[in-house]
Point group: C2
Chain length 412, copies 2
């Protein structure tokens, strides 16, 4: 039985060095939002920035803003800020397109950089779009094949025929975290390239791409980076690869001199060759604000709070909901867990709907996963208490049996 | 010598059925904006919509808005509206990604739909990103080759080995318009697929994709559709091809059931299989407003005003600037011209900067093109008079010789 009380958690909030950050977000009174791992909350500064970009930069500056507001360098400027969150250097990250499109670019480039090797390795149950993109590549480029194996057998699949290994650092369902350094070393040992999907890591856990020797990475702007719904993604190419790096989505923003309007593509020097079409100025500008907020916080404090929240949440669920048939789908060891805790329950879908009806928002992932994401800049310790009490009531009163909780679509 | 006077043009404005639309745009007093062919002006409704999406849909609705605000169907909903501007049917157009990314998808799909054919045909001097993307495809997929020929020789290049013909309907530099029906028939006669880039057509000139029998099309959201800087692009796949259509950027939003989170990609029925990653909600929502404004106007009136503006502009330039060495880079025949007039001048760059300093905004395209775009919803006839008078003064007073007019980057 736990000795945790709501008072105890309220004291943790009082002593939390990150507590002041909550005011930077526009969260509705009474709402407990545990879904920042899927769509981050709105920073007030993002609201103001969106208005400014629309009214001033677009409305008044019009075409001149490409120069006067330096829209041109936006992808690198925001990329350089993200680099600080993921252990990359300046000039190694750009913001562009979606995570999916960026994964295609990098995986395609990897195949050209490892001629004669046709295998791409990933794991079953990886975030679906990653597998789908790799399958698209497999269909489209002769000689490429995607092979997957569960974690315990993954290393044996990585061999001298492997061009690329694609793994998601923090698993979207379970929150389980790979050992980035070990897997990267394994891939590099056989001459394969290593690509990390950081969608559930960037802004959530400390990431050290260069420390691990990673080759490529992609990630998402709308989760822990609070960039807004469908915000652009980012891509990382380690500096040592940038000269050899050529990706097939060679649109004009990746050209060495886009405005010379030449017929022949020449890749830009450095990471800009990862760009394709015209920058989405509004969305990228809004994302910049979310990233800045994250960069301004201390990642050590974020991680410490996030680990503690996970531990407390698990302890509370086991103490207060122990009789209701929940399983733990996340690693119990905080060291191996991202910033979420996932529970299993065969009625998971309806249970989550009942929680949402109580203004507590997590989400559901088929077939039986309830996800609770912790975003230390705006989640409070008492939110964990209140959530678990609500969960216990939903179960005790069988609220989830209400027919209106049976159908809904959700998005990661 | 022309008999046109400013009074005459003011009368045309008074009688212009489209004149009330100008109030729908937030244009600075005293500015003459002739660059809507590059970046459309800000509709007031777009400003309001951006604030609403940020504050209400993202900020308050959070993850729930995927359902409550139907973010899920946004790409098709806006696509269906664009369809009305380009002679497509419902379910044939989606909004997604950039024009460049969409071109890659369609060109790659075309190669799979025409197995055994390796040739893609285009013209030199096509909008650069189109050529660059096709070059990327050529590098990346063995057996593909891009061949280009000038307009007069284009038809001879289209043969039984041609998988795809890619042409821009209205040329970005000259404004010259292809005969869509004739070229499409030529491509189809040898079994090739025909892809039109409508970036400088959609919202500018009447387009009838299905009337012409076109197979594929892409287009831009930030020019005549007034979707904001770097707005998403769109793609069209004729209904008859949709079942066979498979594109390699098979991200999760193109899946038959994205939220089932299966490991295996299954393409969505219909045009949704043209999607890739998560929809950029903010940018797509803002674009929707621009598209709605365009759909609400009468395309016959838009085209009539645009043609007349082009004729008047040419007449005024020839009468008032006849001695200054300008050439006409656009077709004189309005029938063959999009919604812009381009002039040549060896000092074009500096001349355009001098005009911009006078608050008259057109743009420059290397090596010697001055572009003046006409957007009948907010360009007035008197703007043409004032522009040509300013141009004559810039030349007469040699304002363009000022050193500050020598360097600037611009973006189409």
């Amino acid at each position: 039985m736990t000795t945790l009380t709501r008072d105890h958690l309220a004291r943790l909030d009082r002593d939390d060095p990150l507590a002041p950050y909550r005011q930077q977000f526009e969260l509705e009174e009474g709402l407990i939002y545990l879904n920042g791992n899927s769509l981050g909350a709105l920073p007030g500064a993002a609201r103001r920035r969106a208005a400014e970009v629309v009214e001033q930069e677009w409305g008044r500056g019009l075409i001149r803003s490409w120069n006067t507001h330096d829209w041109i360098s936006l992808p690198e400027r925001v990329g350089d800020k993200i680099a600080r969150l993921i252990g990359a250097d300046r000039g190694e990250v750009v913001v562009a397109d979606s995570t999916s499109v960026n994964l295609f670019k990098l995986a395609a480039a990897a195949l050209e950089m490892r001629p004669g090797r046709g295998k791409i390795v990933s794991e079953p149950g990886n975030f679906p779009t990653d597998l789908y993109i790799l399958q698209g590549l497999e269909r489209f480029r002769p000689g490429v094949r995607l092979e997957t194996a569960p974690r315990e057998a993954l290393e044996t699949l990585i061999d001298e025929d492997t061009a690329l290994v694609v793994l998601t650092h923090v698993h979207y369902k379970s929150g389980e975290m790979f050992d980035m350094a070990a897997l990267t070393a394994r891939a590099r040992a056989v001459g394969a390239l290593m690509l990390w999907d950081l969608s559930h890591s960037a802004g959530a856990v400390p990431v050290d791409l260069n420390g691990a020797g990673a080759d490529f990475a992609v990630g998402c702007g709308y989760k822990y980076l609070n960039g807004g719904p469908g915000a652009p993604g980012f891509l990382f190419v380690a500096r040592r690869h940038q000269e050899a790096f050529r990706q097939p989505l060679s649109g004009w923003f990746g050209h060495a001199n886009p405005f010379a309007m030449q017929d022949r593509f020449e890749p830009a020097a450095g990471i800009r060759r990862g760009l394709c079409g015209t920058t989405g100025v509004l969305a990228t500008s809004v994302l910049e604000v979310g990233v800045e907020l994250m960069v301004s916080a201390d990642m050590g404090q974020i991680r410490a709070k996030s680990r503690r929240m996970g531990e407390i949440f698990i302890e509370l669920v086991e103490s207060h909901c122990g009789d209701f048939g929940f399983g733990l789908a996340s690693p119990r060891d905080a060291e191996r867990r991202g910033s979420q805790v996932s529970l299993t329950h065969e009625q998971g879908f309806a249970i989550m709907q009942a929680l949402i009806a109580r203004n507590i928002i997590g989400d559901f992932r088929a077939p039986d996963i309830l996800r609770f994401g912790f975003t230390p800049l705006y989640t409070r310790y008492v939110d964990l208490w209140d959530t678990v009490q609500a969960l216990a009531e939903v179960m005790r009163r069988e609220e989830w049996k209400q027919p209106e909780f049976r159908k809904l679509t959700t998005v990661t």
